[in-house]
């Protein structure tokens, strides 16, 4: 592989890998608290993209809620599309977070209060995913939407240089994705690792019974967790929609599955694991030779299968002592 190709793949892989990472973080947060996988996370991802789209299309096609909104007066350096789009992205992610809270309320909390088999929570969350995806189809239509690809002023690329006679391009949107993911991960890492809320979250994750005895409102922290999970999931949806310029009702399905591969690869319930898993899978996909690009979707699962056999707890997962 030529040096230019290598660098290009590396950049592409890091950008997509960082989206995988923040998306998978949503799974891992919920898993670390409840010990279950929220199969509706892929649907939340789709919703995030749809919310942003609905908000922002007005800016470009005159029927969205943020229609013609300019946050800063014309002529100032911040006026125009990019900032409005950023605001829409943020609102879209908040919307996705609220939906995730609703999912918890309707599909997970009743299960918990009955002490039901966690497997049933899995089926229930799948039911919710089905409801969401089909509601989107019914209310908005099954067609695939074109995301405004000029949202961030697509041209010119953020970075473009020649290496050994070939051009390497880093798209603006890739830089934004990478930066947003990095910020997201840092903030979440800080919140969970250093703040009081994070401490309480970790206590609930460790042992809900004891945490509640210590005066922590377990239900409230589960709601917070679901909000955060939906927020990062929805954010990832918008970022992917922006990067590839499209979104549709089934947009989140393959990401939902890939996200599972990411968290298991990194180690279920581990936040650094989700990041590492996302980057590994993003890079692995970027380095699939063009001749085999049809098999790209299998890469994540081949890696997942392989890692499970060698190191079942994942790359950074704790290997707990088996209970007797």
């Amino acid at each position: 592989m030529e040096a230019s190709q290598l660098v290009q793949n590396l950049l592409n892989g890091l950008a997509i890998g960082s989206v995988y990472a923040i998306f998978a973080l949503g799974y891992t947060l919920v898993f670390s608290i409840l010990g279950i996988i929220n199969f509706a996370h892929g649907a939340v991802f789709t919703l995030g993209a749809y919310f942003t789209y609905t908000l922002v299309v007005g800016q470009f096609e005159n029927n969205g809620l943020l229609k013609g909104v300019n946050l800063f007066p014309d002529g100032s350096p911040f006026s125009g599309q990019p900032l409005t789009f950023a605001l829409a992205t943020l609102l879209g992610a908040v919307g996705a977070g609220l939906v995730a809270v609703l999912i918890e309320r309707l599909a997970f909390r009743p299960m918990r209060s009955r002490g039901a088999d966690p497997l049933l929570a899995l089926v229930s969350s799948l039911g919710v995913a089905l409801v969401i995806v089909n509601l989107i189809q019914l209310l908005v239509g099954a067609e695939i939407y074109n995301f405004p690809s000029d949202a961030y002023g697509e041209t010119p690329p953020a970075l473009s240089f020649t290496l050994g006679g070939n051009v390497v391009i880093l798209r603006t949107v890739q830089v934004i994705i990478f930066a947003v993911s990095l910020v997201m991960l840092t903030v979440l890492g800080f919140v969970i690792g250093r703040t009081k809320i994070g401490k309480a979250l970790r206590a609930v994750a460790e042992n809900p019974g004891t945490a509640s005895l210590l005066g922590i409102s377990v239900d409230r922290f589960i709601v917070i967790t679901f909000f955060l999970s939906g927020f990062v999931g929805g954010l990832a949806g918008t970022l992917v929609g922006t990067a590839f310029g499209v979104a549709g009702p089934y947009f989140g399905v393959s990401y939902g599955l890939k996200g599972l591969a990411v968290i298991v690869l990194g180690g279920l319930g581990s936040i650094p694991g989700a990041v590492l898993g996302g980057l590994v899978i993003g890079l692995a996909e970027a380095f699939v030779p063009a001749d085999y690009s049809a098999y790209k979707d299998a890469v994540a699962f081949a890696l997942l299968f392989a890692i499970l056999l060698v190191r079942p707890q994942g790359l950074l997962g704790r290997s707990a002592i088996q209970k007797v």
Partner: protein
């Protein structure tokens, strides 16, 4: 009677088929193993049958065997499903609970992508114009295929559950460590249960390829894994009738809800949510409790242990 079969025969055949697939997932569950691999073996069996029945390179074989080609495809589907079951099962069954479930999802996805890209499987388009089994004129005639197979499978399952092997599987499901200590080799029995399920799924796939007339990569997807799992859990995962009832029911729901037109898939999702909330033991479990009150059973094998 004929009118009835013309109208509902296809649905009944579909329900029987779904019940069979539910049972294929029930076998590993008997040993406490949550495997979502059934659609992978089902897809494999279907491809084997579709290729044997349509590929030009098997024209000679078809001419020689005549109608005998169909039983051969069943055998091939079951055997290849079982063999792949060994190949996947031996390493995968070292995993437990959610890890096993995810590994089997990965297996199904890998198979799907491979099937999507091979020439012999017809790529994304799939395989078309698969001839009908024994020259069946109507789709409802597949009841004659799926019905007896379901009866046989139920009989086999019942005998298995009553046998020494069945008791060993149950022991593994309740407490693997204790079973191991009592001299039940976990790996052998788990692989056995997994392979029986895989062979059954392969066989059903081989019978379903002519039934559906066309076979493509959509036959073995994550969605189908979930549908089958939901069927088993909603029917009841602790009784052989559970997967059959659940499979038949979930196969029928979209048809019964057809009058809701576009809303039926939304309702389908709601059915899953409500059923998992209100029927934790499944329909069969709930019925069993109605007829003869028993102390609540322990939940299914601990599927979500945080350790592998």
């Amino acid at each position: 009677m004929n009118d009835f079969l013309q109208t509902y025969g296809f649905l009944i055949a579909t329900m029987l088929q779904a019940g069979l697939l539910g049972l294929s997932l029930y076998f590993p569950l008997q040993a406490g193993q949550l495997s979502l691999a059934s659609p992978g073996f089902y897809a494999l069996g279907g491809y084997v049958a579709a290729i044997l029945l349509t590929n030009p390179s098997f024209a000679g074989l078809r001419d020689t065997l005549g109608q005998g080609i169909f039983p051969l495809t069943w055998l091939a589907g079951a055997v290849l499903g079982g063999l792949l079951g060994v190949v996947v099962g031996v390493p995968a069954l070292r995993l437990r609970g959610i890890y096993l479930a995810l590994a089997t999802i990965a297996f199904v996805e890998i198979l799907r992508v491979v099937a999507l890209n091979l020439t012999v499987t017809g790529g994304a388009v799939g395989i078309f114009g698969i001839p009908q089994t024994f020259g069946f004129q109507d789709r409802w005639q597949y009841i004659f295929l799926f019905g007896p197979l379901l009866a046989l499978t139920l009989l086999f399952t019942r005998q298995l559950e009553r046998s020494r092997v069945g008791r060993a599987l149950r022991a593994l499901r309740e407490d693997e460590l204790a079973a191991d200590a009592m001299g039940v080799p976990p790996t052998q029995y788990k692989v056995l249960a997994f392979v029986i399920g895989a062979a059954l799924a392969g066989l059903v796939g081989a019978m379903s390829a002519p039934f559906l007339n066309t076979w493509n990569a959509k036959q073995g997807t994550f969605d189908s894994s979930i549908t089958i799992l939901a069927a088993v859990l909603i029917g009841g995962s602790r009784n052989i009738w559970g997967p059959v009832v659940g499979g038949a029911l979930l196969a029928a729901v979209p048809e019964v809800l057809r009058f809701l037109a576009d809303w039926r898939l939304v309702i389908n999702g709601l059915v899953l949510v409500v059923a998992s909330l209100y029927l934790p033991q499944g329909i069969v479990g709930a019925l069993a409790r109605l007829t003869r009150p028993r102390p609540p059973q322990r939940p299914l094998a601990p599927a979500y242990e945080k350790q592998p």
